[in-house]
């Protein structure tokens, strides 16, 4: 299925592959991730699904280079990702963001260009075009001068995705992007993620709703500290795998 539905790889001789191999992350003595592996490539939407505390956010942060890994490797396009990469954009959960921060939508998107501009270089025409393009692509032109709290939940998600586009990120790491959205907003965010994948990006998102996961994502990683299952969405979701992921074992 991945061969036909995106055009990014038509330009490349190879797929852009993200390969995670036996990743372990510990917070002090608590094991957050143990021996997690997955392999996917651009053009896909991957859901991370598991109970609370299963390590979904930690896995996203580990890919973004935000938490130190005990062992295991993450490789993107054949090279090992050691710390952080401008090709990855990370979006934390809604409640971790200070929405009253005095910044406009445009200012937020401009922040996405800082990896390109560095700490000092003034914005060039290229940068402004990237910002304009990102705003236009996500239909935010009319909202660009609004303060970020004056947006609806769906618009806020779009603003952050525009920031990732301005950054020219290839991999989007989204922590619970659908949480708190009403049905329409969730629908349009789903369409948007499908479009971003079709354009050749790799979308990896933690997700809590199994019923919608098979429609919204191409591949699913069932996670409970370890990998329970990984593969194409409809094949992974079976009664047995769900039970293995969500039932708590009592000794």
């Amino acid at each position: 299925m991945t061969e036909t539905h995106h055009n990014c790889c038509a330009h490349h001789t190879h797929h852009h592959e993200l390969v995670i191999d036996s990743l372990c992350v510990r917070y002090r003595k608590v094991t957050a991730l143990e021996d997690v592996s997955l392999a996917t490539s651009c053009g896909n939407r991957v859901a991370l699904i598991g109970p609370n505390g299963a390590g979904k956010s930690t896995l996203l942060k580990a890919i973004a280079g935000l938490v130190p890994r005990v062992s295991g490797t993450i490789r993107w396009r054949g090279t090992t990702v050691r710390k952080w990469s401008g090709e990855f954009a990370y979006l934390p959960q809604r409640e971790e963001i200070d929405w009253s921060f005095p910044i406009t939508v445009r200012g937020l998107v401009e922040m996405g260009r800082y990896p390109q501009t560095g700490w000092w270089r003034p914005f060039s025409d290229d940068d402004s075009q990237a910002v304009d393009g990102a705003l236009a692509s996500l239909n935010l032109e009319d909202l660009q001068h609004r303060q970020i709290r004056e947006l609806s939940g769906g618009q806020q998600q779009r603003a952050f995705l525009a920031r990732a586009l301005a950054q020219q990120a290839h991999v989007l790491l989204l922590d619970e992007p659908f949480t708190g959205l009403d049905r329409n907003a969730a629908q349009s965010l789903g369409d948007l993620l499908a479009r971003l994948a079709l354009e050749g990006r790799l979308v990896i998102a933690s997700h809590h709703d199994l019923r919608t996961a098979t429609d919204l994502f191409d591949e699913i990683l069932l996670l409970k500290t370890r990998t329970i299952a990984f593969g194409p969405a409809r094949e992974v979701v079976t009664p047995e795998s769900i039970e293995a992921t969500f039932t708590t074992s009592h000794a």
């Binding site: 973004a64 952080w84 934390p92 963001i97 921060f101 910044i103 922040m111 990896p115 700490w119 950054q167």
Partner: protein, 278 residues
């Protein structure tokens, strides 16, 4: 009044008000974005035991050992709180509260052993009209350091203040930025010591950008607007204080407070009076 303007004391006071007002007004932008006005208050109180220890170790009270003592104490407590909060176990505000009260208590404990107790009062509320040329240079130097560093590192600082995780994912050395901010904060506090003193320095480091944040959503306006508001507010307050015969240090903070309340009431976008009619 005219006569007063020709007095070198008064001229120095006006210049100091402009430098300190601008630098601290500029820096107040970072404090508003960080939403930690209270930690500024905690740090400002740390300067007093710093001065007390400066006297204890050197035996006298001069401007220099007061500055060095205050700077050392605020750096110790401020950077210490960032370091303790690294472990994720203790919130930074908590660490700061413990460290600053401990430092303050130590300062109180050694007070009986100091022979220059009366003069400490002068550092509580400052005295901008007694400012000397050396103080003016200190204020100018410190103000330049904070404004220039703040400008050069504006992007990584803003990214960090907005969301540290996103900043780190974009390659910003978040921890370095946090230490840097507290170092600049300590410098700003010490720089305003002569003008408004330990206690009132908080007003100068919070009010300007707090006022601007009621008027605009543009991030850069917080810094430049805060700087100009701080400078003009301070200079205006020194002039008004002379006219009405009140101490200039409190005058600065009162005027900035009044302007803040006015913005709160009358701001076109966020003002109380216009909120209902929207």
């Amino acid at each position: 009044m005219n006569e007063l303007l020709h007095s070198p004391f008064f001229q120095r006071a006006l210049a100091a008000a402009a430098f300190i007002g601008f630098a601290n007004g500029f820096f107040s932008g970072f404090i508003i974005l960080r939403r930690t006005a209270l930690s500024v208050s905690a740090l400002s109180h740390t300067m007093l035991p710093g001065i007390a220890f400066g006297i204890l170790f050197t035996g006298t009270l001069t401007h220099w050992n007061a500055f060095v003592g205050a700077l050392f104490a605020t750096l110790f407590v401020g950077l210490g709180s960032v370091a303790v909060a690294r472990g994720n176990r203790v919130a930074q505000g908590t660490a700061l509260a413990v460290l600053y009260t401990a430092a303050f208590a130590a300062g109180v404990a050694i007070l009986p052993y100091l022979h220059t107790r009366q003069e400490l009062e002068h550092w509580l509320f400052g005295d901008i009209s007694a400012i000397g040329n050396a103080d003016l240079w200190i204020a100018f130097g410190i103000g330049s350091i904070t404004v220039i560093t703040g400008n050069l590192l504006m992007r990584p600082i803003l990214l960090t203040l907005f969301e540290p995780n996103i900043a780190a994912a974009q390659g910003v050395p978040v921890r370095f930025v946090q230490y840097l901010l507290f170092t600049l904060l300590a410098l700003s506090l010490v720089g305003s010591l002569q003008a408004v003193g330990c206690v009132l320095s908080v007003g100068l480091l919070v009010a300007p950008a707090a006022t601007i944040s009621l008027l605009t959503d543009k991030t850069s306006a917080l810094f430049w607007g805060g700087g100009f508001l701080g400078a003009f507010g301070s200079v205006g307050a020194v002039l008004l204080s002379a006219r009405f015969g009140i101490a200039p240090g409190p005058g600065i903070v009162i005027l900035l407070g009044v302007i803040f309340v006015a913005a709160y009431l009358f701001s076109p976008k966020y003002g109380l009076l216009f909120r209902k009619s929207r």
